[in-house]
């Protein structure tokens, strides 16, 4: 995984709250056995009409959305299933961060493992971001801040270990594999049958 320290991008906004993983990537696309190529199906049922043509009124289809790497979404983004296909689809599309007031637990975990930043901001800043699609913002991991175009900064919480892994491109599996001695000792003492 490539290290991430700062992200600077215009935002693309999806205002509804409780956007679930079945919207992010509908189940019929889960029959894949690889991680690649899911960006094409991201938000498929919202993005394409019944004839398969892109809906012009959908935010991600608008020309301004091209090249944006920060998604601002409504409260409780990513609820529902544990499918990691959801962050795979978002990153394959080119997104690197999701900003909301609440992000569902499993989605957040999955996002972190794929270099997609879950950024939780307080309602005031969130409202401003929802109302200003295309705003140029900067997300800085060292200070855990998001800077709005006017220069105002808001802090966001990020679990220290996840932050460390993201900033240094460390993968968690490597960290776990280094705990082999402790894992073996645990198995011996608890006699895991």
């Amino acid at each position: 995984m490539d290290p991430i320290r700062t992200l600077r991008s215009r935002t693309v906004v999806l205002a509804p709250s409780d956007i679930d993983t079945d919207q992010i990537i509908p189940a019929r696309f889960l029959t894949t056995t690889s991680r690649e190529g899911l960006g094409e199906h991201l938000f498929a049922d919202w993005r394409y009409g019944p004839d398969g043509a892109p809906r012009v009124d959908f935010a991600l289809n608008q020309p301004e959305a091209r090249g944006c790497s920060i998604l601002v979404a409504g409260h409780n983004f990513g609820c529902g299933s544990s499918r990691e296909h959801a962050p795979w689809a978002l990153t394959d599309f080119g997104l690197r961060a999701v900003v909301s007031t609440q992000i569902a637990d499993i989605f957040r975990n999955n996002a972190l493992k794929n270099g997609l930043l879950p950024v939780i901001v307080e309602p005031g800043a969130h409202r401003w971001l929802i109302e200003h699609p295309g705003a140029e913002v900067t997300i800085d991991l060292a200070s855990c801040t998001l800077t709005l175009p006017g220069g105002e900064t808001v802090r966001f919480p990020l679990e220290p270990f996840a932050r460390y892994c993201l900033m240094n491109g460390v993968d968690e599996l490597g960290f776990l594999l280094e705990r082999e001695a402790q894992i073996a000792a645990y198995e011996a003492r608890s006699a895991v049958a």
Binding site: D22, Q23, T31, E84, P160, E172, L177, E180
Partner: protein
């Protein structure tokens, strides 16, 4: 003296390989890793890419359920699986399990079924265990007093390689339920009402423990229905303290401890319930006595009202309006008597024997209304077998319903069982998200009893009118 602990804290502590610190999450040991065809292929690929072995194949257990067909001729006959990509996924799981030495209950195995049905059914799920699966409804297994939660595919790979996960300790939420459920009202109505109360994000960051006299009075099937939908309130896990009901359920199951090992296990399990005075970070009290049959009317499980109720009006909420537009409903409208096109009985929420019995009790001697397509899909092959031994299949078939092989089926649109565009489906599953049961499908979540009543009348019906 040590501080009093909750059920969750006891299970958590006994699985800490390395406790969490400010800088790093805990390394948590996993006792049972369940896998299925949809969320495992990329994790096996990760093992291969890094040249790693699967550390504990003996604690790993595989089945196929999500993309498998439910038509008998496709499962047991020569008919091909209609979705080619799904067929490939099934073959890949077979290959991966063979290559890494994982026990697999394959397509034609008499013990196959939805992963969350067969774990408890086989006795693999036990009190005090940590159980994970690449599936959010792993919360189901918490009904036996296990700490069970869904993980993503990267984490599936972590468990493959190390039998451990890096986890921050979640917060605790007690949902205390008292009051007797009245006739015609069951566990599904209870959990829908709880989600309606705390909201679809209300449990985020928490493990819920369901407690109180009402919960203690539920049988295991009903407890699983409750814990199953914890994730629909945003909680990673739901738990219920093990008791005599739990032990009676587990005794004699093929993978449960036997003989002396059973006695030793029982002694351990009896220590698991929370200590008197153990405290939770949050508590919610719920009175079940006044509860009525519930049904969802919107596009998340928190949008729920009594079957006889009225859709609320939230004039200034565009998301709410969009949801109602998708459903073809209006604020202030009643859902009762609304025509129904499809009825689905099944899923890991309500695909167990007692669910089928409830539905059959209402259908006995009655017919599915003209124009309604009713599908009954047992949660496992064993449930199917037991239901057939009782003659439930005859009741369904004679009523005009379809009786299928087990699987996730119409719970999610990936195996060919779909709700047509715009149709109204009363479903005993757990998610009424847009498009979940098929593009443009309109899902009304309800209990098996309510779903059966709707099938008979062809309209949204309070089951108490027919019992």
């Amino acid at each position: 003296m040590t501080a009093p602990l909750t059920l969750f804290e006891k299970v958590w502590r006994s699985h800490e390989v390395v406790p969490e610190t400010a800088d790093a999450p805990a390394v948590l040991y996993i006792d049972l890793h369940l896998i299925h065809e949809v969320t495992s292929p990329q994790a096996f690929t990760a093992l291969r890419e890094r040249g790693l072995r699967l550390r504990r194949p003996d604690l790993t257990f595989a089945t196929m359920d999500h993309s498998t067909p439910t038509r008998t001729e496709q499962v047991f006959g020569g008919a091909p699986i209609s979705v080619e990509a799904a067929a490939r996924q099934v073959r890949e799981l077979e290959r991966n399990c063979a290559a890494f030495g994982v026990e697999l209950l394959g397509l034609r195995d008499a013990r196959r079924g939805i992963v969350h049905i067969i774990g408890p059914e086989l006795g693999l799920t036990q009190p005090g265990k940590t159980v994970v699966c690449g599936d959010s409804h792993t919360s189901t297994h918490g009904a036996l007093g296990a700490l069970a939660f869904g993980i993503g595919t990267t984490e599936v790979g972590h468990v493959f390689a190390t039998q451990c996960l890096l986890q921050r300790k979640p917060r605790t939420l007690a949902v205390n339920v008292r009051g007797r459920l009245s006739a015609g009202v069951g566990a599904k109505d209870l959990i829908l009402a709880i989600i309606g109360r705390i909201g679809v994000g209300g449990g985020t960051g928490h493990v819920i423990e369901y407690r109180g006299e009402t919960i203690a009075g539920l049988d295991m099937d009903a407890r699983m229905t409750v814990c199953n939908m914890s994730i629909e309130a945003g909680a990673r896990a739901g738990m219920i303290a093990p008791d005599e009901t739990t032990y009676r359920y587990l005794a004699g199951r093929p993978r449960a401890p036997q003989g002396e090992a059973w006695d030793a296990a029982l002694e351990r399990w009896r220590q698991l319930p929370g200590d008197p005075g153990a405290s939770f970070e949050r508590e919610v009290d719920f009175d079940a006595a006044a509860l009525e049959p519930m049904m969802t009317y919107g596009t998340n499980p928190g949008m729920v009202i009594p079957v006889g109720g009225t859709i609320p009006d939230r004039a200034d909420d565009p998301v709410f309006a969009k949801s109602l537009a998708y459903m073809g409903f209006a604020p202030g409208e009643r859902i009762q008597e609304h025509p129904v096109n499809v009825v689905f009985i099944g899923s890991c929420t309500n695909g167990r024997l007692s669910d089928l019995r409830a539905a059959a009790s209402l259908l006995r001697g009655r017919k599915v209304a003209n124009g309604v397509h009713m599908l009954v899909v047992p949660g496992s092959q064993q449930v199917k077998h037991e239901a057939e031994a009782e003659g439930l299949d005859r009741i369904f078939i004679e009523a005009g319903a379809e009786w299928r092989e087990s699987g996730c089926s119409m719970c999610l649109g990936m195996n060919g069982d779909l709700v047509p565009q715009g149709h109204y489906a009363v479903s005993t599953s757990n998610r009424n998200f847009e498009g979940r049961q098929g593009i443009g499908a309109r899902t009304l979540l309800a209990s098996p009893l309510t779903a059966a009543a709707c099938a008979v009348r062809g309209r949204v019906t309070d089951p108490r009118e027919l019992i």
